[in-house]
Structures are given as structure tokens and as C-alpha cells.
């Protein structure tokens, strides 16, 4: 049965056990059912060890489900011969860029995946330069990647995936090592790719602000799906988040404290601006 055209990713009853893992009987993931459509921007959230990285690796066919199936545009990740297509559709950005920078210069590194696509050299250069400019890497193009600082390396790794113009980008805490400006750059860039080119994004993050900025939040806890809903709803349910050891955005956290002090704040406050506006309008009424 073919997947619907708009579906990019489908996980069906997925269990995953790490072979030879310490707890061979306890699965890293169990009973996962999830569908991600073209152009969706999904945050994947959960405590350390909840299975987020494992799940992304399943989507990229780096791991194959122990039970159940992962389909990428209808293609099972368990089929060897279609792996290149699966990995073209779903580009992956790892948490630590050190393991994914392979070439001798930044320029070659960004171009690395393109070399296999039989594009004219001009086109390769153009795409590499455009992507480098987007991420502020123009000046580093001739540098050897291992000489860059951690943040610089991560932006090169991101450029290497963006340049392939994938249909879905899997990002495993891509901003963990970036400074605030680098984070904003990357988030804006990914958001733009998502909006303008309809690329789906699955974004693992510990930053509540980043999760709040997506369309949909999926929460994993101890290998199971704990929540799946609109960001504005999941990320304002503080009781639920705290119960899993997670946090809301600063605005959500502060609003909750002020409600305890009887400030009549509306329940849907998610961002700083909403909290500021609400507090200021309270002042005018009283």
C-alpha cells in the first residue's frame, strides 16, 4: 500500500532494541507511531536518554527498526537498494559536527554530498557559495575544518546538508554548540527553507524557545511517545512538561509564577512579547 503523496515520513509500530546493549530487554523505543507530512516543522523533545537520537537515526536508515516499519516517501528504510534515495530525501545534521566533517577545506566539505549528483562544477560552486553566505561561512571557505571552533564546525555541517536541498531535514540538537547569533541564523535559515521550499523539518532540541517556534511538538519519554500536538498547546502545558522534567519558555514559566500571585494572565502566553503585552494591559485596566 503506497503512502499518501503528502506523507514524507511514517513510523508504524516501531520498537527498537540496541543489540548487545546493557539492557537488552528494555527497548530504546517502543510502540512509536508517527506521521510527518511535507512541509511540517516538528520539534522532537524529551529528557536525555528518551530516544530522540535513536528515532532520528531510524528515519535516516542509520538504524533499522527491530519491529515495525519506517517509510520515507513510502520506501521502507529496511531495503538496502533504496538507501541512497532515503538519505537524499532525509538529510541529517548531528549534534556534534566533528564526526561529519571529512574534507580538507570547508568548501570541499560543503560540496561533499553534491559531488555524487553529477552536477556541472559551476552549479556546485554556486550552490556552495550561496549556502556558505546564508550561514556566514564565506570567509572560512578555504580553511581546513579541523581548525575551526566548535560553533563554526557546526555551521559547516549544516551547510553540507542544506546544500543538498533535501525534502526533510533531521536535526539532532543542531544549535547546542552555537552562540545566540549562530542559533538565530540557523533557525531562520531552516525556517526559511521550511516555508519557502516546503521542506519538512524534525528538530531535536532542549531549548523550549526553539520548540515553541515550530508547528508541532512531539515529546518522547523513556522510549515512548508522551505527547504529539500543536506547539502552542504542548508548550503551554507546564504541569505536563514539569512532570517529565522539562521546562516551558521563560515567558510561560514566569507567567505561571505570576498567575500564582493572582495576576489574571491569559492561558495561551508563549512568547516574551505576549507576556509583556498582557502585563502592560493589566496595568491600564486597574
Amino acid at each position: 500500500m503506497a503512502a499518501q503523496p503528502s506523507t514524507i515520513i511514517e513510523a508504524k509500530d516501531v520498537d527498537f532494541y540496541y543489540p548487545g546493549g546493557e539492557d537488552a530487554d528494555s527497548p530504546a523505543l517502543s510502540g512509536i507511531n508517527l506521521t510527518v507530512n511535507q512541509g511540517e516543522y516538528v520539534a522532537l523533545v524529551g529528557p536525555n536518554g528518551s530516544g530522540k537520537t535513536t528515532f532520528l537515526k531510524l528515519l535516516n536508515a542509520l538504524l533499522i527498526p527491530t519491529h515495525g516499519q519506517v517509510l520515507v516517501k513510502g520506501i521502507s528504510t529496511a531495503v538496502e537498494s533504496t538507501l541512497p534515495e532515503v538519505r537524499r530525501v532525509c538529510g541529517m545534521i548531528f549534534q556534534n559536527p566533528d564526526n561529519q566533517l571529512v574534507a580538507t577545506t570547508v568548501e570541499e566539505d560543503i560540496a561533499f554530498g553534491l559531488e555524487n549528483l553529477a552536477l556541472p562544477p559551476e552549479e556546485i560552486r554556486n550552490r556552495v557559495f550561496k549556502t556558505a553566505a546564508l550561514l556566514g561561512l564565506e570567509k572560512l571557505l578555504s580553511q581546513p575544518p579541523h581548525l575551526l571552533s566548535g560553533g563554526e564546525k557546526q555551521r559547516v555541517a549544516i551547510a553540507g546538508v542544506l546544500v543538498m536541498e533535501p525534502e526533510c531535514i533531521l536535526m539532532d540538537e543542531p544549535t547546542a554548540m552555537l552562540d545566540p547569533a549562530g542559533r538565530r541564523d540557523v533557525l531562520n535559515t531552516v525556517r526559511e527553507l521550511n516555508r519557502n521550499r516546503n521542506i519538512a523539518v524534525i528538530h531535536v532540541t532542549h531549548f523550549p524557545e526553539e520548540a515553541a517556534g515550530t508547528d508541532r511538538v512531539v515529546i518522547l519519554n523513556e522510549g515512548k511517545l508522551a505527547a504529539d500536538g500543536a506547539s502552542a498547546e504542548v508548550m503551554t502545558d507546564l504541569q505536563f512538561l514539569h512532570g517529565l522534567g522539562l521546562q516551558g519558555t521563560t515567558a510561560v514559566e514566569l507567567a505561571a509564577l505570576l498567575r500564582q500571585d493572582s495576576f489574571p494572565l491569559p492561558p495561551q502566553i508563549l512568547y516574551n512579547r505576549e507576556l509583556v503585552d498582557s502585563l502592560c494591559s493589566l496595568g491600564q485596566n486597574s
Partner: protein, 286 residues
């Protein structure tokens, strides 16, 4: 001067085409017992500076000073120095090489020539200081631990020598919010109870800003700001122009102040913000 630098300049690979001036003419001084913060965009020289402070890197010119004395290059002296000034690298768990947690933490004391009885005591004491249970964990393989536990083992490995100064390079990278809070609680305890001087680089200002006695800001290898937290975080526009951010709560306070609410903007924690907003609003009503 307790710990700091005088006109420190560092060039990587001087005299080659890849020569990079990572630090230029840096002079500052942290006091004994300080909780000090080093911030700056990625590539600004934080890790390079940090590695000078325990003699891992040698200045190209200028001096690193500890207790009023220049750090030289005598091997024995450096070994003694590293006992007193402990350094936890960024993502330290990636450099684990032992088969058990015990051996990982025991490495430095053994290296310093303590006998096995003393080593045992030091390992147990260090693990306990980080809140890890030595009995439960000592024989476990480091890779079997959770992300947060691994980070704590890496810190215990450095605490095993009872340093007077603890330096951590981006210690909260890739930790979930619960582990992050736990880590900052640990550092606060070491600073207050054990009187350790703590120096950290971080982009996570949620917790760090409120703890900081002194903040050093780097910009492309130069000292951009140095002073108490209120002074540095008071220079909002400059921080923005460097691509840095204010602590998240402080942003909200600025938002309120800009709308005419007479709140202090030198506020770094949720509880401070709550008190400040209550104070102003109560005054409003009466």
C-alpha cells in the same frame, strides 16, 4: 592578582599560511572565590583563553598569572599547577578512555603518584561531591551512563585532585534542562561551600547570569568587556551587536521597561522577576 592574564596574545600555527590570531592583548583578573563567566560568539577565543589558564596552551606573548606569579613552562611546576587548577573540556565524555567509572576518575590521582588507598579515597570523595553514588556506579562502564551522569563523571575526574580553581568549557552543552539545573546547583555548592573559584564559558545565561560575580566578554580574540554582571549585562546594545543575548528573563524586563513599566532590568532569575513585577504592580494599585 589571583588568576588572570597580562597582555596575553595567542597565535595558532604562527609563521604558516594558517596562522590564526586567536587572542590579542588580553588583560584581566579574576578574584579568589569568584564565580566567573566567559562569554563571546563562537570563534571569539573562549576555549583558547581557558586552555591558557591552566597552562595547557602557552602564550605567544604576554603572561598568564596565578597567585601573582607568572605561569612558566617548567614541567614539574605545570604538573603542580594542574593539580590546583582543574579544567573540564567541552563535551569531556567524548574523551573517556577507561573501562570503569572508577578508573576514569582515578586517572589523575594515579598520575600524580598517590598510592591506591589514597586514590580510592579521592575517587569516592570526588564522585560524592558531584552527587553520584560511588557504590552504584564505580564498576560501571562510563558509556552505560546517561548524558548527565557522564558529564558529572568528567567533573569528578577533575575534582579528584581537590583543585582550588575549577574551569569548565561550555559544561552544559547538550544537557537537558533538568541536568543543566543540577549542574549549576553543583557548581554553586562548590563555589559557596568548598570555596572553589569557578570559571565557566557558556551560552546558557538562564542560570549562569545570576551566579556570576564577574563576566568577561570576548570579541574576535579581544577583550570587549570585563566587569560585574550588572555592568556587563547592562550594556545591552553592545552585547546584541556582538551577536550575544541577555539572560532570557532580562529580555522580558527590558520589554516591560520599554512599555513604561518602572521595573529594574538588572534581573536575572524568574523569582527576581516575579518579585520585581509584584512590587511595581502593587505600588500601581495602591
Amino acid at each position: 592578582m589571583f588568576i588572570g592574564t597580562e597582555q596575553l596574545t595567542h597565535t595558532y600555527m604562527p609563521g604558516t599560511p594558517f596562522a590564526t590570531k586567536a587572542l590579542h592583548d588580553i588583560s584581566f583578573n579574576f578574584k579568589q572565590g569568584d564565580f566567573a563567566l566567559i562569554i563571546g560568539p563562537s570563534g571569539s577565543g573562549k576555549s583558547t583563553l581557558i586552555q591558557h589558564l591552566n597552562g595547557l596552551l602557552k602564550p605567544t606573548s604576554g603572561q598568564v598569572v596565578f597567585e601573582g606569579k607568572n605561569i612558566g613552562s617548567d614541567k614539574q611546576e605545570l604538573l603542580r599547577l594542574r593539580k590546583r587548577i582543574g579544567l573540564v573540556f567541552q563535551m569531556p565524555e567524548e574523551q573517556f578512555f577507561s573501562e570503569t567509572v572508577f578508573d576514569e576518575v582515578a586517572f589523575a590521582p594515579r598520575n600524580q603518584g598517590f598510592d591506591e588507598n589514597e586514590v580510592e579515597n579521592k575517587v569516592i570523595e570526588a564522585l560524592e561531591k558531584t552527587g553520584l553514588d560511588p557504590n552504584e556506579l564505580r564498576m560501571r562502564h562510563p558509556f552505560q551512563l546517561s548524558a548527565g551522569q557522564k558529564r558529572l563523571v568528567a567533573i569528578a575526574a577533575v575534582l579528584s585532585l581537590n583543585p582550588e580553581v575549577l574551569i569548565l568549557d561550555e559544561p552544559t552543552v547538550a544537557l537537558d534542562t533538568a541536568y543543566r539545573k543540577n549542574l549549576f546547583d553543583l557548581l554553586t555548592g562548590l563555589n559557596h561551600k568548598e570555596k572553589l573559584t569557578i570559571i565557566i564559558s557558556t551560552h546558557h545565561l538562564d542560570e549562569a547570569a545570576a551566579l556570576a560575580d564577574r563576566v568577561l566578554v570576548l570579541k574576535q580574540g579581544e577583550l570587549a568587556m570585563f566587569g560585574p554582571a550588572v555592568e556587563v549585562f547592562g550594556r545591552r546594545e553592545e552585547l546584541y551587536s556582538l551577536g550575544l543575548a541577555l539572560p532570557p528573563v532580562t529580555e522580558i524586563m527590558h520589554g516591560l521597561a520599554e512599555k513604561g513599566m518602572p521595573v529594574s532590568t538588572s534581573v536575572y532569575t524568574l523569582q527576581e522577576a516575579r518579585r520585581e513585577i509584584n512590587k511595581v504592580k502593587r505600588r500601581d494599585r495602591s
